[in-house]
């Protein structure tokens, strides 16, 4: 469900927070969906459970996840006001910067790049 790369320059907890946030704003993770337990995720990815727990706690503070007594964390059921567009766009900034850099290195123009992104968008949204 998640791609965690311990060797990345981005801390593991940050990778998890970003992915959960994206999946929730994208609607793939719907309200009430239960997430894997800290232990399950830590074992699956062979990472320190503390780092998973840190990510979950942060997501809980942000109101994206809620803790249930004796059960796994789940996506918050209370209908949240959607974050403002600017804030959602901000989450894409890093990915956009990376894409733009790669395009520049390949000497791909803005128009071609935008077409590519547009095509990909069509594919994703069927």
């Amino acid at each position: 469900m998640f791609v965690l790369n311990p060797q990345s320059g981005t801390p593991i907890y940050r990778q998890l927070v970003d992915q959960v946030t994206r999946l929730i704003s994208g609607g793939q993770l719907t309200p009430g969906t239960e997430l894997p337990s800290v232990r399950e995720l830590a074992e699956l990815h062979a990472v320190n459970p503390m780092t998973i727990s840190k990510a979950y706690t942060l997501l809980e503070t942000e109101g994206l996840l809620e803790r249930q007594r004796g059960k796994p964390m789940r996506v918050a059921t209370r209908r949240r006001n959607q974050a403002p567009l600017a804030q959602r766009l901000q989450q894409l900034e890093a990915a956009a910067a990376e894409l733009a850099l790669a395009a520049r290195q390949l000497e791909i123009g803005k128009k071609e790049l935008l077409t590519l992104v547009g095509d990909q968008w069509e594919k994703e949204n069927g």
Partner: protein, 292 residues
Amino acid sequence: MADPTVSVRDLTTWRDSKAVLDSISADVLPGDIIGVLGKNGAGKTTLLETLLGFSRPDRGSVAVFGEDALHLSAAAKARIGFLPQQDELFGMLNGRQQLAIVAAFHAHWDHALIERLTAEWTVPLTRRIDSLSVGERQKLGVLAALGHHPDLLVLDEPVASLDPIARRQFLQQLFAIGENERRAVLFSSHIVSDLERAANKVWIVKDGRLHWQGELDALKESVVRLHIRSRAPLPANLAAPNALATRIDGNTAMVTVTQWQPALADTLASQFDARIDVEGLGLEDIFLELHR
């Protein structure tokens, strides 16, 4: 906050008129899994041994569970598990006999745990220890260090000779230990990818000093590499604040900085009329950059 498990203050040790430990101060807190990194000869082993009171520092002090490390009570010693770099297993015994001797020293030896791990890690118990492979011997050493559920587990290069599967099993055991918030683990290793999975904190030892200590996450957020691309040639004396390394090549430059703040990118961009791309670094790269 909980009392520190280990409290190191101004630790200094001289050898042949060179400081092998130089003014080291640090704490190990309950719940910590600390990875100790350093080049060969940087002082890791001396640090770990001095920490446990095996050698007397020339200056400074160490407290373990609040007691002077040089005069630990039997009760405090019973709460420590230690695997030295050169293990102290008896070559003429077999694994079962060796573990029985260690177990006899501890009132609360967890026979069930050790039996389970012996099977999972495929440690041969019936062969003489001096006939075991280096890796098998290392696994036995780790078992001997943790069977009494120490509150402080110190491992000097515990996985150097283990294969990837055994290393993964070892990490899982570290996590199981870490689940108990009373316990602390301190381990040195050159296998940086293991440290990245296991450690919540990192100590980087360089020339006898603790060159960096703190949370691994904070280290990764602090040290980044900036790629600067300007329209004009960059000045040869380009100096970014907190730069660790600077390489300038015509219109472009690569600068590794610590204490990274996003605002720095804007400052540099306007200062040099340049584009700034920020690259996060893995621990191995950070380690190398800190040694330039």
